[in-house]
């Protein structure tokens, strides 16, 4: 059986999922996540678990496409779904420091 997750681990998982949780909720998630991990451990007990994993039910070669271009979206259409834009760029709050590029 898995040990109960620490408070910090619960908060870390919440951060990765970008979910805000209250102090009062932490314990609830400690219990729920523990149950989940135990279930995963149970699956691992199945015979052949360590064999090569099957990533898709289709075991033949993936279908590929020719390197030919098709229809693209009009930039106006693209920007319609963005809360804010600046010229043709989609605008979001700053994520790194000024002048950096990623």
């Amino acid at each position: 059986m898995k040990n109960k997750l620490t408070k910090e681990e619960v908060l870390h998982v919440a951060h990765l999922a970008r979910i805000k949780i209250d102090e009062g909720e932490i314990e609830k998630y400690q219990i729920e996540l523990e149950k989940l991990l135990n279930d995963v451990d149970k699956i691992k007990e199945v015979e052949g678990y360590d064999e090569e994993k099957m990533i898709a039910p289709w075991t033949k070669n993936t279908i590929t496409r020719e390197d030919k271009s098709g229809e693209m979206l009009n930039p106006k259409e693209v920007l319609k779904n963005a809360p804010r834009h600046s010229g043709n760029y989609i605008e979001v709050p700053i994520v790194i420091s000024d002048g950096e590029e990623a």
Partner: protein, 474 residues
């Protein structure tokens, strides 16, 4: 700094030269209006599914072959999960578990010795959108989202910024020549990260690692590694302990600075991409791709030198791919390659640079180039003549014979006339002749100068030199 042993590994992202993106049929292009090269797949609209571009696999096989990698016969893609505005799906499709290529190497020349830079693995992934940070905003352009990339990861096997620089130069040359990528670091189609750590003794475990991200040029890779080694050495010297970190090179500060990161280490929660079934690579497919690999730089240099071209010229030719490709058209011809290489790198390069032209767009046909080269080697044309007629050669459809006739070039090719002229010069310059006989090399240059002046540049210097030496040694 000299008290520590640096350990360096390099990761390179290279955009593949395809027409379309990796999982969608929108155009793979650079420098277009922002957000004009996208479709619903690139933007991660709900319900869309990726379809793998065949050409991506072919180019990745090609890259794996030229980097001497082993190729995995069966592979799949994985999702790398993170929340960040550069990727609207909240995951990047990459290959974490089954990289297409592994255990390869690139050979570099360092301090006159060959060294194999070992490649740990090479995988395929999609590029993210380009984000530019200005003031309080981050601006997103999704034209880059879904552009196919290969990421090439070396083992921690380099020991200096110079080695990393040589490796990147070689890698760039190989990928560019094989048409895998256009490798333009200034446009971001080739990007490098460096992992740097130092330790006191070779028997010690590796030191704490710093990763320097997104370095914009090869020379800055070298510089940033050197700066980072210095920084870490200072910390160790002062007895300070530091944590692994991500930094970037700031070319204004000329130093590495700490960077905020997306997620770290194991937080990416990789799992297999269920939307793309297995990809199988057959020996037949590898053989087909192998056929498309053109003659690579090292092979070209070797070939050129075997044809009598100097090492310097061979190197220069390889640095200019269009000239090298042009010359390769003549490899089976019987021409004087030394003259041909001098012509290409000298007057022809000058013309092309001045007129901002590519050699294939000029009127210099194969026949004309051969005629021109032969005319120089047999003395019909002198270097002075070439300068006179080159514009016409490059811009008109006339053959060389016609051009010579029209320009009225009449060179002295009659050896008895040349001998007469040289005898006259020898008679007029007894001091120089005495100097030559006393072993002063400068004298011969002076005499040649006099001869060329007397002939107004209308004779072949090599022919004149031969006759001059013959007359002097009589």
């Amino acid at each position: 700094m000299s008290n520590y042993i640096p350990t360096i590994g390099v990761e390179v992202h290279c955009e593949l030269k395809t027409n379309t993106k990796i999982f969608s049929n929108s155009v793979n292009g650079y420098g277009q209006m922002a957000n004009s090269l996208t479709n619903v797949i690139d933007l991660g609209y709900p319900g869309t599914l990726p379809t793998l571009n065949k050409e991506v696999i072919n180019l990745a096989i090609k890259a794996a072959l030229i980097l001497n990698c082993k190729i995995r016969p069966k592979m799949h893609f994985d999702r790398k999960n993170y929340f960040y505005p550069d990727n609207p799906k909240n995951y990047q499709i990459t290959q974490a578990e089954t990289p297409i290529g592994y255990d390869g190497y690139v050979e570099i020349d360092i301090d006159g010795k060959k060294k194999k830079i070992e490649i740990e693995e090479m995988h395929i992934e999609e590029d993210t959108c380009k984000s530019t940070h200005r003031g309080t905003k981050t601006l997103l352009d999704f034209n880059r989202a879904g552009v196919p990339l290969i990421e090439i990861v070396t083992k921690p096997c380099m020991e200096s910024g110079e080695e990393a620089k040589l490796y990147l130069e070689k890698l760039k040359e190989l990928l560019f020549y094989s048409d895998v990528s256009d490798c333009k670091m200034e446009e971001g189609s080739m990007r490098a990260d460096a992992n740097v750590s130092i330790r006191k003794n070779i028997s010690d475990p590796y030191g704490t690692k710093a990763e320097i991200k997104n370095i914009g040029s090869i020379s800055n890779v070298k510089l940033s590694i050197e700066k980072e080694i210095e920084r870490q050495a200072k910390l160790y010297d002062n007895g300070e302990i530091f944590l692994p970190q991500t930094r970037r090179f700031d070319d204004k500060l000329n130093d590495t600075v700490l960077m905020r990161v997306k997620e770290t280490g194991n937080d990416y929660r990789y799992f297999p991409e269920p939307d793309i079934p297995y990809v199988y690579i057959t020996e037949k497919q590898i053989a087909e791709v192998r056929k498309t690999i053109p003659m690579l730089p090292d092979e070209r240099k070797e070939k050129y030198q075997s044809l009598g071209i100097s090492e310097v010229n061979a190197k220069k030719l390889v640095q200019n791919r269009s000239l090298s490709d042009y010359l390769n058209e003549f490899l089976d011809e019987k021409i004087d390659f030394k003259t041909a290489s001098n012509l290409l790198l000298g007057d022809i390069s000058g013309y092309l640079n001045k007129n901002e032209q590519e050699i294939i767009n000029t009127h210099l046909t194969k026949e004309k180039f051969i005629e021109l080269t032969n005319n120089i080697s047999d003395g019909t044309l002198t270097s002075k003549n070439i300068k006179e007629i080159l514009d016409t050669v490059m811009e008109s459809d006339k053959n060389i014979k016609e051009i010579i006739k029209e320009t009225g070039i009449q060179n002295i090719t009659d050896s008895s006339a040349i001998t007469e002229m040289i005898k006259k010069i020898i008679k007029e310059n007894p001091c120089s002749v005495a100097d030559y006989k006393a072993g002063k090399d400068r004298a011969i240059k002076y005499l040649m100068g006099q001869i060329m002046k007397e002939s107004k540049g209308s004779l072949n210097p090599k022919m004149a030199m031969d006759i001059l030496l013959e007359e002097l040694n009589k």
